[in-house]
Symmetry: C2
Subunit: 348 residues, 2 copies
DNA sequence: CTTGGAGTTGGAAACGTTTCCATATACGCT
DNA sequence: AGCGTATATGGAAACGTTTCCAACTCCAAG
C-alpha cells in the first residue's frame, strides 16, 4: 500500500555513494570513475529506479512538454496536424499535452491558463482567433507560442511565429481549373465571414474570378457556420436558389461533404450536371463516386514545422518572427485532380 | 531577460503574510480572515501570479495528468476515442499527454517509460498487444492502466480494466444481415491473425456462418496487414480469385475502403454485382455512392468510459477488475444499414 | 618532501508548492 | 480575573531532482 516510490536517495544508499554522484551517472554529465558508475547503474537496475520528471523539471525550470491546442481532434485536418506535431516532438524528446477548444474562445482561454500552470515549454495552437487576449497574456508570461493555420492577424498582434497553408494560391488553383474547364457560374460555399480563413478563401475566390475576367455574382457565394448542419443547409440553399450554376467550390471538407450530399439529394450527376471541388483533401475524397477533386493542404507538415519552429531555439524563433513583422511560414498547397469536375453541360 | 517568474513567496511578501497563508487562500482550504484573503487575492492579481503545477505536483505526488496511447491519431476510430478521453478528462480537470505507438511495441514501451517518468496518474491505451511486458511493468510501479479495444487478453494478464466494443455481436449482426438478404458466398477481409482483433472478428465471422447453416469456405477469408497497401492487395486478390462471391464483409474501415476501391476498379456495381459492408463506421461511409452499410463502434463512448474507469477511484477500478478476473466493460455496436447491400444477383 | 593540478566525490542549496505544528489573538464562559 | 476554545497565522519540513562548491585522493613535477 504505502509503497513509497524509490528515489535517487535510495539508489545512492544502495550503491554506497552520494546523491550527486548518482545524478551525474544517470544524466551522463560530470566525471565519475568507471567503478562507481557501474555500481550506481547496478543499484538503479536492481531497484528498478525511475527518475521523476517532477523533481527534474522543478530544478531545471523546463518541463519538456509542449501544449497542443486544436478545435477538434476528430477533424481530419487537425488529426494530421496533431500527427505532425507528435512526430517532431517525439524526435526532440518532448511530450505533448493536447486539448480541444471546440471553437470556443472561453474554453481556449481556460486551456491556455492550464498550460501556463503546467509550465509547458511552448504552445502550438490552431486558435479560434489569434488576437484573443489570452494569447497576449501567454506571451507576457514568457511562453512561446506558434500558430498554425488561419492566424495571420493573431501572429502579427502577438508576435508569434505562424505556419500557414497557402490558401490563397490553393483557392486560385481550383478556380483557375474550373474556369479553364469552361465554367462561368461557379458557386462558392464559404466558412463564416467572422473567421480569417472564411474571409480569406472567399476573397481569393472573387479575386481570382475577377482576374480571369469572370464577373463575380454575389448570389453564388454562400456562407455557413462551421457545423455539419449549417454546411448542409448552406449547400442546399445554394443548389436550390441557383439551378443555373455549373460548378461548386467548397471552402472546406465539411462544405465539400455537404455539396456531395446535396447534389445527390437533388439527383444531380457529378460531373455531368455539376462539377464539385473542395479545399482540403481528405481520405474520403478518393472514395467518393466520382472521386473528388480537392486542394490538398499539407497538414502534417504544418504541424511538424510549427513544432520545429517552437522548439528549435524558441526565443530566437519568436524574436525573429517579431522582427520580421511576423512573416509566417507559408507552405504550398496542391490541386489534386480527380473525377468530380468536367466541362459544364450548358455553356453560356 | 532574467525575468524570474514570480512565486508564492513574492505574493506573500507583497501581501505582507506568510506563504502558508497564501497557499491557504489560493487553494481555498483552511481558514483565513476575509481581510487577509482580500489582501492576498489583490496581491496575486496585481503580480499576475501563476501557481506552478510543478511545485504542487511534487508536493502532492499527483500530477493531474493521464497518458493516452493510440496507434495512430489520424485513424478516425482513434481520433474519436481521443475526443472521448479529452471530454472526460476535461470535466475531471485532468490533462492528457498523448502519443502514437504506430503499432510498434518497442515505441510503445518507450512511451510508457516516458509516461512513468512523468508520473502520470494513469494510462489509457489502445495497445499493440496488451500482454506486452511493459504493461506489467507499468502496473508494478503502481500506475493504473485502462485498455481500450482489442486487449482482452492483455487486461487479463495485467489485471487492468478494459473497455471493448462488442465486436463479436457486431460481426454477427452484419453477417446475419447479409445472409438474410440471401447471400451464401460471402468474402471476409480480415486483419492480421496475430492481433486479437483480427482473430476475434474472423472467428465471429465463421462462427456466425456456421450458426446460420452456411458452410464456411476458407477460400473466402483473406487476411491483410494493417497498411493501406496490404488492405488493397488483399481485397484485389479476393475479388480476383473468387468472382463467384456475392458479398464482402470488411473487417475494418481500412479494408472497407480497399473493398470499395477494388470493386470500382473491377467495374463491379454495388450492390447490384456485389454487396459490401464493413466493421467500423466512419464519416466517408455516408459519402460513398452508394453509402456503405457499416457496423458502428462507439469510439467516443469507449474513450470516455475508459477515462472514467481510470480516474474514478483508480485503485478501486484496478482492484475490482482484478478481482472480477478483468471482466471488461463491453459497449454495444450498431448495424447502420445504408445502400451498399442488396440481394445477390445470381442466387445459388 | 612539498606543491599543485587533475580527477572524484559528497553535502547542501535551490526549484515552488502544501501542510503539519506551534503560536498568537480574540472572545465567551465561569 | 482566569481559563478554555476557536480562529488566524507563520515557520519549517518535505516532495525529488540538479549543480555549485568544497574537499579529498593520487600522482607527477619541482
Amino acid at each position: 500500500m504505502t509503497a513509497r516510490s524509490i528515489t535517487i536517495k535510495d539508489v545512492a544508499a544502495a550503491a554506497g555513494v552520494g546523491v550527486a554522484t548518482v545524478s551525474r551517472v544517470l544524466s551522463g554529465s560530470g566525471s565519475v570513475s568507471p567503478r562507481t558508475r557501474e555500481r550506481v547503474l547496478a543499484a538503479a537496475r536492481e531497484l528498478d529506479y525511475r527518475p521523476s520528471a517532477l523533481g527534474r523539471s522543478l530544478k531545471l525550470q523546463r518541463t519538456g512538454a509542449i501544449g497542443l491546442l486544436v478545435p477538434d481532434v476528430t477533424d481530419p485536418f487537425c488529426a494530421e496536424l496533431v500527427a505532425g506535431v507528435l512526430e517532431c516532438a517525439g524526435s526532440l524528446a518532448e511530450h505533448v499535452i493536447i486539448d480541444a477548444s471546440r471553437d470556443d474562445p472561453a474554453r481556449e482561454a481556460e486551456i491556455v491558463d492550464r498550460l501556463v500552470e503546467q509550465r509547458v515549454d511552448g504552445i502550438i495552437a490552431l486558435p479560434t482567433r489569434g488576437d484573443a487576449p489570452h494569447w497576449a497574456t501567454a506571451r507576457r508570461v514568457g511562453l512561446s507560442v506558434a500558430f498554425v493555420d488561419h492566424a495571420t492577424r493573431g501572429a502579427d498582434a502577438v508576435g508569434a511565429p505562424a505556419v500557414l497553408a497557402d490558401d490563397r494560391a490553393g483557392v486560385r488553383s481550383a478556380v483557375e481549373y474550373l474556369v479553364g474547364l469552361g465554367h462561368r457560374r461557379i458557386g462558392f460555399l464559404g466558412g463564416p465571414a467572422a473567421t480569417p480563413t472564411g474571409r480569406l478563401r472567399a476573397d481569393a475566390f472573387t479575386e481570382t474570378l475577377r482576374d480571369l475576367a469572370v464577373t463575380p455574382d454575389s448570389g453564388l457565394l454562400v456562407r455557413a457556420r462551421s457545423s455539419r448542419d449549417s454546411a448542409y443547409a448552406a449547400a442546399a440553399s445554394l443548389f436550390q436558389r441557383r439551378s443555373d450554376l455549373t460548378a461548386v467550390l467548397a471552402g472546406s471538407h465539411l462544405l465539400g461533404e455537404a455539396a456531395v450530399l446535396v447534389a445527390r439529394e437533388f439527383d444531380l450527376r457529378v460531373p455531368a450536371d455539376v462539377s464539385i471541388a473542395m479545399i482540403g483533401d481528405v481520405a474520403w475524397a478518393e472514395l467518393c463516386d466520382p472521386p473528388l477533386t480537392a486542394v490538398a493542404r499539407p497538414a502534417r507538415d504544418m504541424g511538424y514545422r510549427a513544432c520545429e519552429l517552437l522548439l528549435r531555439d524558441p526565443n530566437r524563433a519568436g524574436d525573429r518572427a517579431r522582427r520580421e513583422g511576423g512573416r509566417p511560414v507559408v507552405l504550398p498547397t496542391e490541386l489534386i485532380v480527380r473525377g468530380s469536375c468536367g466541362p459544364p453541360a450548358r455553356t453560356r
